[in-house]
């Protein structure tokens, strides 16, 4: 789907041609759904976000002034909805959203790499988490993230690097605790 093609497809989808809408869903849907799901960790919240993102992206296309792709616009809306959902989730639960995947130390007091990261990510704010996912899940460059969030690249850097430093500190804490446990 070239950019030019995509513009035609979007125009058709906005006129109610479901075949055109299907093309857009096939292109962006599964990947977006998976990323949102990895962040909110609840299939129903993820579905709501993806639905909102697709329909809002189509309906409010006029307000998206940029020469970047439909995907950028789609991810911007999804990102904002995801942040809102994460905030709401954290308000209602004392345990953070990642607690479900937290694993108790094994006999040797060791968390595997995935559990470690999963636990460390709990300390991030929703915005920091969002940037980390765009960078490491979506494999976006700093510029792509800036375009998606419609913020200066400096903002992306400071948000991302601050997230890294918090993660690094948290991982050190986790590893220290594991070492004590294993002694």
């Amino acid at each position: 789907m070239t950019t030019e093609n995509e513009q035609i497809i979007i125009a058709r989808a906005r006129q109610g041609e479901e075949e055109a809408f299907t093309l857009l869903v096939n292109k962006y849907g599964p990947r977006l759904q998976q990323m949102v799901l990895a962040m909110v960790r609840n299939p129903y919240d993820a579905e709501d976000i993806v639905q909102e993102a697709f329909l809002t992206a189509l309906q409010r296309l006029e307000t998206f002034k940029g020469d970047s792709s439909f995907g950028t616009w789609l991810y911007r809306i999804a990102y904002n909805r995801t942040i809102d959902t994460l905030r709401r989730q954290r308000e209602v639960t004392v345990e953070t959203v990642y607690s479900s995947s937290r694993e108790e130390p094994s006999d040797f007091g060791q968390l595997d790499s995935k559990a470690e990261i999963s636990k460390a990510l709990e300390v991030l704010s929703p915005e920091q988490l969002g940037v980390v996912f765009l960078r490491h899940y979506q494999d976006y460059s700093l510029r792509e993230i800036a375009a998606t969030l419609n913020v200066p690249i400096g903002t992306v850097k400071s948000r991302l690097y601050y997230a890294y430093s918090r993660l690094q500190a948290e991982l050190s804490k986790i590893r220290e605790a594991e070492q004590k446990w294993s002694i």
Partner: protein, 209 residues
């Protein structure tokens, strides 16, 4: 040069160091083990993140049927009819129209002399026929639009008109030989209860002879 701070080390990895400073940064990194170690810690963290974040979504599955519901929302928003209606409806109607046009065109192609009746007197005896046949006759002769009522009717009368008495007689006999019951009305021949395609095939055969 002082040690590189956390931001500078990250910028270095992201190719975000200004060109004029890049040489200095490289030179420092080359000689300072402390900064080298810090850089490799950051690299490790990033590698671990890329590897593990990818799998985080894997243990939660999307709600079954999410795509179907997304399309449902789309239809509600854009008031779209279900997809089969759009993708099948048009071709089916087009095919029906094509068949009807073909049905009209074939007799002409085979030089079946369908002609406009000379006056109301010719129409008169046909008034006795059941209405669908009457409709087809009118349609066939006037070449106006097809009455909607005809589209679904399986049995029809075909009208053959000619001013040539020999031709009429020949067609009449051929139709009889074919096991049909043709009816003469003035300079017309009617066949009742016959499928339109079958009638066309017969007339085509007759006109060849």
């Amino acid at each position: 040069m002082e040690h590189l701070n956390f931001t500078q080390l990250n910028e270095y990895l992201d190719d975000e160091i200004n060109k004029d400073k890049l040489e200095l940064v490289r030179a420092h990194l080359f000689s300072c083990t402390q900064c080298q170690q810090e850089l490799s810690r950051i690299k490790d963290l990033r590698t671990q993140l890329t590897k593990e974040v990818q799998t985080l979504g894997g243990d939660v599955k999307p709600a079954l049927g999410w795509e179907k519901r997304l399309h449902q929302r789309y239809r509600e928003t854009y008031r779209v009819k279900p997809q089969w209606n759009r993708s099948w409806g048009r071709p089916v109607i087009a095919a029906l129209v094509a068949l009807l046009l073909l049905a009209l065109y074939l007799p002409l192609q085979n030089r079946v002399p369908l002609r406009r009746p000379s006056g109301p007197s010719v129409l008169e005896p046909i008034e006795n026929l059941p209405s669908p046949h009457k409709e087809l006759r009118l349609f066939g002769l006037d070449q106006q639009k097809v009455p909607e009522s005809l589209e679904t009717r399986p049995e029809r009368a075909v009208v053959y008109t000619s001013t040539n008495e020999d031709e009429l007689e020949q067609v009449y006999q051929e139709l009889q030989k074919a096991g049909l019951q043709p009816v003469r009305r003035g300079n017309e021949i009617l066949v009742e209860r016959i499928n339109l395609q079958e009638a066309e095939r017969l007339i085509a055969e007759i006109t060849k002879k």
